[in-house]
Structure formats: structure tokens, C-alpha cells
Amino acid sequence: VVLAVEATLTKGAPTLVYGQLGGNSRVHVASDGVHVTDEAGTDRVHIGRIGESVNAEGTITGEYGLRVVSSDGSTVIIDGTSDMYRIAATGTFTLVGPAGSSGNCVNTTMTVVVATDFTYPPHVEVSVETATNQAAVTPYWSAGLNGTISLGFTSSSRVVNTDETEIRATWFAQSDQSALTDTFRYRVLEQTAI
């Protein structure tokens, strides 16, 4: 790798060093970037100009990014084009269950406000970390009689103070859950282009 980097970083006209580096390294330098192959020779990782081609006007097209392919060579994990979510902030909180009763659905809430600098409401994901109740990831609904909701969890986000994110979780029930305390994990997800 060092040899290739030195060659391309030399002042003046760069020397083209294409091909496989270090014998068994499985790292290949090409005109569109760096590729890593697996033992079967399948191209698994590509960093550089993804989807490079030359159009009719002779212009090289393609976007710089990262492309990662699964071991079977057919499933693209990171395609270098689709947006992704990054976790901008994460933490946990405790929420005590509501004191509902049959025919009387009540709720408890918890809000956490984080200085994310986001001026838009980001996607949030809230999941239960303790298994007292059967909810892995919100929203979770359990239907009661006559189409009513007997138990549920929801989560939402909104912008507060111009650039902060409020994460709100709600636990509601038509039964007395007030003796229960669950811990939840929240994740603030930022959509990002690659």
C-alpha cells in the first residue's frame, strides 16, 4: 500500500500504479479506486468512484463513495448511492407503567431533549431493554376487545428550542401497569447521503 500511495502522492505527474498490492493482500488499485476481493476473487469492497462509466460525451460518471457486498457476492450491503441512517445520539431512560383499568386507557410518558443541532424532527427508534413487557421496538400495539387497544408503546420526535430534538415515549394500557418499570433505549437517527 505504501508503494502505491507514495507513487500517487509524488509531486508532478503521478505514476500510475494499478494492480494487486502486496501479493496476497487482496487489495487492488484501479482507475476507479481501491477494491478488496475475498478468497474467491469476488469484489467485496470498493472505495472510490462507484459505478464508473464513460457516457457518450466522453465524461466519466459515477459517485465517490463506498460499496460493500455480502459474502455471496449478490447482496449489496452498502451501495454507495442510497442514503443511510447514522446514530447521532443514544441513551436509555426509565418509564413507569400507567394505572389503567378496563375501558379506561391511560398513559405515562417520558421525554428526553438532546442538543443534536437538528432543525428538523429526525427519525427516532425506541426499544425496550428489559423484558417485563412484550415490546421489542416501538410502536407496539396489543388489541383488546371491540377494537380497543389494551396495551401499547409509541415514540415520536419533534424540534424544540430551534435545534434540539425531543424524544417522547408513551406507554398506555387498559390495565393497571403501575407496578411495572421498564427501561428503554432511544436512538436518534440522522439520514445521510453517501
Binding site: 447514522r86 441513551g91 436509555t92 431512560f93 426509565t94 431533549v113 438532546v114 442538543a115 428489559t130 427501561t183
Partner: protein, 145 residues
Amino acid sequence: MAMLLAYDVNGNVIATLDYLVHRDDQGRVIGLVDFDTYEQAGGEMTDVWTVEGATGSKVWPEWLGSRAQEFQVELDGEPGHKRAVALVHRESGERRERIAIEAAIAERIAAAGDQPADIRDIVGGPGRPLRLNDEGRTVSRRARP
């Protein structure tokens, strides 16, 4: 680096903020917010986050995930400059002392010499909280709690 705790009027931990990405003036992510440095410089953690039902927030040098909410915070220091000095397990009474954690970190760094010190087994990490047993003691990630 550290985790943030939010606690209620009784000192019970009710929420954590394990990490928050840090951005430059252009909005580009440049790392994680260093909560500990901010607190030591006199910053209030409520500048970073607020939690419903919380009366305060402090930095803690370990990552415990949601298990942190089994503890009560002990504070010490001058008014306006208090720090969390211990977490006390609400059921077992097990104490996790900041001074012992910081001493273990310093010892590990000294032993590493010029090499980077791996302190993950001491403090855990963002997205990799320490594993605790029922009494709130750290257990090996290889062992069943």
C-alpha cells in the same frame, strides 16, 4: 469520554445519554462530544440534554447502559461544581466509586507506556456497556452475569 446520567430528586438515575456526535461549524461530524471535559470546564450538562422528571445531570466515567438506572448518584464538591463521585446500587448497596475507576484507568495507562492503553474492560464504551451482575458488580463479558 464518558456517559451522562440524569437523576431525580432522590438521586435515582432515570436516564442516560451514552454519546452525542459533535459537529463543526459546517455541521460536519468530527467526533463525539467530550462530556467530561465540558463538565470539568464548568459546563452544565443540562446544556446538552434535559430529561422529564430529572433534577440534575452529571458525567459518569463508565458506560452502563440501562443498568445505570439501578443506581443512585452520590455527589460531592462545591456548590455549582459538584461531580458524581459514586453510584450506589439501590438493592444491593454495591458502590461504584469514581476514584477507584480513575485510579484503574491511570494504572492501565502507566503500564502501557508509549502504547495505547485498552481500558474497555474498565469503562465499557459507547454502544458497548459493561456487563453487571444482579448486585451491580462488573462481570467479564465472557462470563454469565
